[in-house]
């Protein structure tokens, strides 16, 4: 009604405006309400005054007398001391609230119990229909008019907090949210702290919580982050049981894996069976499949941004778990309460403990044998003040394999002292370290300065040494390949007002590539006969990145995240530069359907030379060089998103098209053993184009006793490379047309949690030969016996598709909350519950030349596979 009155008054005012003249008036106003005074002024002067009744209600004024003064002076005097002001439009006066001074509320949002900073917590301000979310360090900033404001805080898994806060320009205010589970004594939340899918302009991204990773069925009792990510739409798993991520037609090297900001390369154990992340220290994981914000760069297909825990501010606790493959332990707590915390975790596998049982049945047994992997995470967090915090993080992970054979004895002449020893060792893994300094310059400006180092290395060492007839000899072959990054990065978050979040930053990295350095050292009779290093010298490069982005609420309906990312890569005297525009747009349709569109260009200055369909540790990381250009991709996406059932259900649908340039593959028939063949690798690869497109549907339930999701992907991915497949387009690895994942986690009752995931993937392509032909392996002679083996003729890469893949995994967790505060969990998982013989590979045994239809042998790797694991939290 009041709006109607306002409109009516406005219309009346407009109608009369042209007829009114500016005049001076004389009037006496008794002590009365402001409303009465305004009415009196209108009646006696004939001027039109518009106002909202609720704003003038309750305001009284003292008696006034005016003589031959303008209406402006009278109104100014009447409104003096109130929060109201007026504007003149023609002859009409409109009374409204005076413009308040903007004040900024800023600080951090944290877990009430542990003090852990909450990422992506929402702060809504209903009065102004605006809000913000916390950044990666839990920082927020709200700039609003007024002295106080009502803020509603929410974060998935935490109680909602609705409070009125005084706006004090200089003081930082931290909010502490209580976990829902501590109140309900049941974990019913499997969602993640994330911005509302409808309000956010960001698309093509998914958050995954550590709780979710731990809840999904486990392979050999190991909760695995990447295996959980593989259950999301747009992500394909590659070979059965591996943890490789193939995102929207990309390759594993096109994923930027960031652990607390430091890049990791090949973060896998056991040749890709498990990823390297200890789930007990995970805090937040965000997967971007496209629509990359400008702050990310350097990879074409995805970003997996992993944040680890900072450590409990108030008390010590941790956990310990044992599975069939490995054991892990984590402890966290304060070194100085409210000031300094630490997190320490370690994991080690123990297949080598069981290996002797098998090895002792063999004839030729090594006298030393080792096969294991380990991870170590350490983090220190110190709070200097509300404005300054320091984080020091370290990660180390290695896979190690070693055998040693030793032989002693007399030679044929009966001489003693003869021996022969051969050592074989392999190891690979990542080390990374970061030092981060958070600083709040002002309530609106936050920065994070990071110094980081990351090193991935593959080492292989083979040596043989011995003594024969009193003469010693040795032969050592040492191969090292890897990549090292060292550099610094600074990021700024500037929040001038709720409608804008501006991020900008810069990074400078030194990169050192070692694409397979082989050292050969040989001695004979104690004299060095060979000592050489191959010509695969280290390649040094520098990479510079600059970015700026603005997340801008243009109107309630329209939200834009626009940014630019600039990068420059200097290698071998060549300077590559790339300007990469990024754009995310969300438009709110009627019914709160969010229509989203995005475009992003990405440039990648590194390549992975892989001979296999999975990433192996020996694959070579090589830079763009003078001859090999950087990879580039343009990706477009269009989608819709909506919340249902009060936000319990999230639905999104996205279509995408990605065009990739300068992606490399080995040329047909190239010598694959490049790591020990010098710097010839550049001549063995060919560059071409790739494209992928498809559609993804995602329906997720984040709260309640039943949580989980249904994800469906329809996808195509191809490559066209001049010197591969005769230059013809071919479907790329794991180009599966359909993927369906149904994941459910059900809280049966307190202490019992059920989980299940079902995966369906249509057949992936593979290559089979179409014909065979005679080959010769010796010069032929016109006498003697002859033998002609055959060579297989391959007419096209990935020329056949056969069986679809589907699998049901089940899990059950028995959780017991003990009186002494311990939480004990037994997890039993059964993978491939109905023992589907999914093809791992195919081979052709025989073929009847007369028949078109024949049969091929499919070999499965993973039958029904039960496992059990135990976890104790304290």
């Amino acid at each position: 009604m009041r709006h109607f009155l306002i409109v009516l008054l406005l219309l009346c005012g407009l109608a009369a405006a042209s007829q009114q003249q500016a005049i001076n008036v004389s009037i006496s106003i008794p002590e009365t309400t402001l409303e009465n005074a305004l009415k009196l002024l209108q009646q006696q002067t004939g001027i039109q005054i518009s106002y909202e009744y609720t704003r003038v209600r309750g305001i009284t004024i003292k008696a006034r007398h005016y003589k031959d003064v303008s209406p402006e002076i009278i109104l100014k005097d009447l409104l003096k001391g109130t929060t109201l002001t007026f504007k003149r439009r023609g002859d009409q006066f409109i009374i409204g609230p005076a413009v308040k001074m903007d004040r900024t509320l800023s600080g951090f949002v944290e877990d009430a119990v542990s003090g852990e900073r909450l990422i992506g917590a929402s702060l809504a301000v209903p009065e102004y229909q605006t809000g913000t979310i916390t950044n990666a360090y839990g920082f927020y900033s709200l700039t609003l008019p007024g002295d106080s404001v009502r803020v509603v805080l929410s974060s998935m898994g935490y109680e909602r907090l609705d409070t009125v806060v005084a706006m004090q320009q200089t003081k930082s205010i931290s909010f502490r949210l209580k976990t829902l589970s501590s109140r309900l004594e049941e974990v019913t939340i499997r969602g993640v702290k994330t911005e509302n899918i409808v309000t956010s302009s960001q698309m093509s991204h998914i958050n995954v919580s550590a709780a979710l990773v731990r809840a999904t069925p486990r392979l050999l009792g190991e909760a695995d982050l990447f295996k959980t990510l593989q259950l999301l739409p747009g992500v394909k798993q590659g070979s059965d049981a591996t943890s490789a991520l193939l995102v929207r037609g990309g390759t594993p090297d096109q994923n930027l894996i960031l652990l607390d900001g430091a890049p990791l390369y090949n973060p896998m154990h056991l040749m890709g069976v498990f990823s390297t992340f200890n789930t007990s220290i995970l805090k937040d994981v965000t997967l971007y499949k496209g629509a990359f914000p400008a702050r990310y760069g350097g990879r074409l297909s995805s970003v997996v941004d992993i944040s680890t825990k900072d450590g409990d501010m108030h008390k010590m606790h941790g956990d310990f778990s044992v599975g069939l493959l490995s054991a892990q332990a984590m402890v966290e707590g304060p070194i100085k309460k409210e000031k300094t915390t630490f997190v320490l975790s370690a994991r080690r596998s123990y297949p080598d403990l069981f290996a002797p049982i098998y090895l002792n049945t063999q004839d030729d047994v090594p006298d030393k044998f080792g096969l294991h992997f380990y991870d170590l995470n350490a983090k220190l967090h110190h709070k200097f003040s509300d404005k300054d915090k320091l984080y020091v993080g370290f990660y180390g992970g290695r896979d190690k394999f070693r055998t040693r054979y030793k032989y002693f004895g007399k030679d044929s002449q009966g001489d003693e002292g003869n021996y022969y020893v051969t050592n074989t060792s392999m190891q690979w893994g990542n080390y990374s370290g970061t030092i981060r300094w958070n600083h709040v310059y002002s309530p609106k400006l936050f920065s994070n300065l990071m110094v980081l180092g990351s090193d991935y290395r593959f080492k292989s060492d083979f040596d043989q040494q011995g003594e024969s007839k009193g003469e010693r000899y040795s032969d050592q072959q040492k191969l090292v390949s890897g990549i090292s990054d060292y550099g610094a990065r600074i990021d700024f978050d500037y929040l001038p007002r709720p409608g804008h979040v501006i991020k900008a930053g810069a990074a400078y990295m030194f990169r050192n590539f070692t694409p397979g350095a082989l050292r050969t050292r040989q001695t004979d009779k104690d004299a060095v006969t060979v000592d050489s290093v191959n010509n695969n010298h280290d390649i040094r490069a520098t990479e510079t990145n600059l970015y700026a982005e603005d997340d801008w609420n243009v109107t309630r309906q329209l939200k834009i995240n626009a940014g630019l990312h600039f990068s420059a890569f200097k290698v071998e005297g060549r300077n590559y530069t790339s300007l990469q525009p990024r754009m995310n747009v969300r438009y709110l349709l009627p019914g709160d359907w969010a229509l989203k569109a995005s475009y992003s260009r990405m440039t990648q200055y590194i390549h992975l030379l892989a001979t296999n369909s999975i990433t192996l540790p020996a694959d070579l990381w090589v830079p763009a060089t003078n001859k090999i250009k950087p990879q580039e991709a343009d990706q477009f996406a269009l989608g819709i998103a909506k919340n249902f059932l009060g936000g319990q259900l999230e639905f999104s649908a996205e279509g995408y098209y990605k065009k990739m340039r300068h992606v490399i593959e080995y040329k047909e028939g190239a010598d694959y053993l490049t790591s020990s063949k010098g710097d010839t690798w550049q001549s063995l690869v060919a560059a071409g184009e790739g494209k992928s497109y498809g559609m993804e549907l995602f329906l997720q339930k984040k709260t309640g006793k039943l949580t989980g999701w249904i994800g469906y992907t329809l996808a195509w991915t191809y490559r066209t490379i001049p010197e591969v497949n005769d230059g013809r387009e071919f479907p790329y690895k794991y180009d599966r047309r359909h993927d369906l994942h149904i994941v459910g986690i059900y809280q049966l009752r307190k202490g019992i949690e059920l989980s299940a995931s079902w995966t369906y993937q249509s057949a992936s392509p593979f290559t089979i030969p179409v014909s065979v032909y005679e080959k010769v392996v010796e010069p032929l002679r016109d006498e003697g016996w002859f033998y002609f083996p055959s060579s297989q003729r391959v007419d096209g890469r990935n020329n056949v598709r056969l069986l679809a893949y589907h699998r049901l995994d089940l899990g059950i967790s028995f959780i017991r909350y003990k009186k002494n505060g311990l939480i004990r969990t037994w997890n039993v998982s059964v993978l491939n519950a109905y023992n589907r013989l999914n093809p791992f590979f195919y081979y052709l045994e025989t073929i009847n030349p007369m028949e078109v239809q024949t049969s091929i042998t499919s070999v499965s790797l993973m039958p029904v596979l039960p496992s059990v694991s135990y976890n104790l939290k304290f």
């Binding site: 016109d782 297989q792 025989t846 073929i847 024949t854 070999v859």
Partner: protein, 288 residues
């Protein structure tokens, strides 16, 4: 744990019907040439099969031989043990380039060419049995065979090493015969040592890592026995014959590896498949 490991190891198989893609048969010209020998070539067709030891033979073709660009002769067809061959009377000389042109009625010409490489400058050769080690069979032990090659610098050279165990026997009239049997060995090549020492029948080497150097290759056989002798074959290869032989060996090794891309065998025959490749083999007897 053992139960699970055995589950994993025990791969499950099943037969899947497939509409097999088909490619029309194409002519295949195969010739590996050796210094001071006549040329003996095969001309066959590819077949729709997985494994075959007998391919359709082309018997109505004419194969022309060119030496350093000059026509020398048409090869003569002959048949032995049901196999059809084409041979020259010309003996191959080191340093010359030989080109074959096969004219097949109703089909275009096939053509391929190569040359004979220079001999390998083989350095020190030795064999050292490894006392206390266990060989392939009872009574056999391992032995380390060391082969040194003096590489000619400034050019790309390609080599192949194979090892044989000789067996000597006399027939009833007292004539001594020698037969050599190929034996497999492990190499010091880094990739061959990963996880388990790979047994190879032949070891391909290119001099990218040691151009002009004199590397020593330590190869370990596990069939050392009373014979007390090994025969080392060192072969110089041209780039084409190296690529062909190496890719056929790689295809044999990798095409059954489910995680590897299928290897496309190199061929240098225009309008068909196969090889015209040159090589030079040298044999050495080594004893402790």
């Amino acid at each position: 744990m053992l139960l699970i490991c055995s589950w994993l190891i025990m791969a499950c198989k099943k037969q899947v019907p497939i509409h097999f893609p088909e490619e029309a048969s194409r002519p295949v010209l195969s010739l590996l040439m050796e210094k001071d020998s006549i040329l003996v070539a095969r001309l066959t067709r590819s077949a729709r099969a997985v494994f075959a030891n007998k391919f359709p033979q082309i018997t109505d073709a004419t194969i022309q031989l060119y030496e350093d660009g000059q026509f020398r002769e048409n090869l003569t067809m002959f048949e032995k043990y049901e196999y059809v061959f084409y041979k020259s009377t010309v003996k191959v000389k080191a340093g010359s380039t030989y080109r074959l042109v096969a004219k097949i009625p109703g089909y275009g010409d096939l053509e391929g060419s190569d040359y004979i490489p220079a001999p390998v400058n083989v350095g020190e050769l030795s064999v050292n049995p490894i006392p206390g080690s266990k060989g392939h069979q009872s009574g056999e032990i391992k032995a380390r065979i060391s082969v040194q090659i003096h590489d000619k610098g400034g050019e790309r050279n390609y080599y192949r090493i194979r090892i044989y165990i000789p067996y000597y026997y006399k027939d009833p009239d007292g004539t001594l015969y020698t037969e050599k049997y190929p034996t497999s060995f492990t190499t010091g090549n880094p990739q061959d040592t990963w996880f388990d020492a790979k047994q190879r029948d032949q070891f391909f080497i290119e001099d990218a890592l040691f151009d002009g150097g004199s590397p020593r290759f330590n190869l370990v056989i596990d069939r050392w026995n009373k014979v007390n002798e090994a025969i080392v074959e060192v072969t110089a290869l041209t780039a084409d014959s190296y690529k062909y032989l190496y890719s056929t060996a790689m295809a044999e090794e990798k095409n059954d590896d489910p995680l590897s891309e299928k290897v496309v065998v190199f061929n240098n025959i225009k309008n068909g498949y196969g090889i015209v490749g040159g090589m030079l083999q040298q044999l050495y007897s080594v004893k402790p």
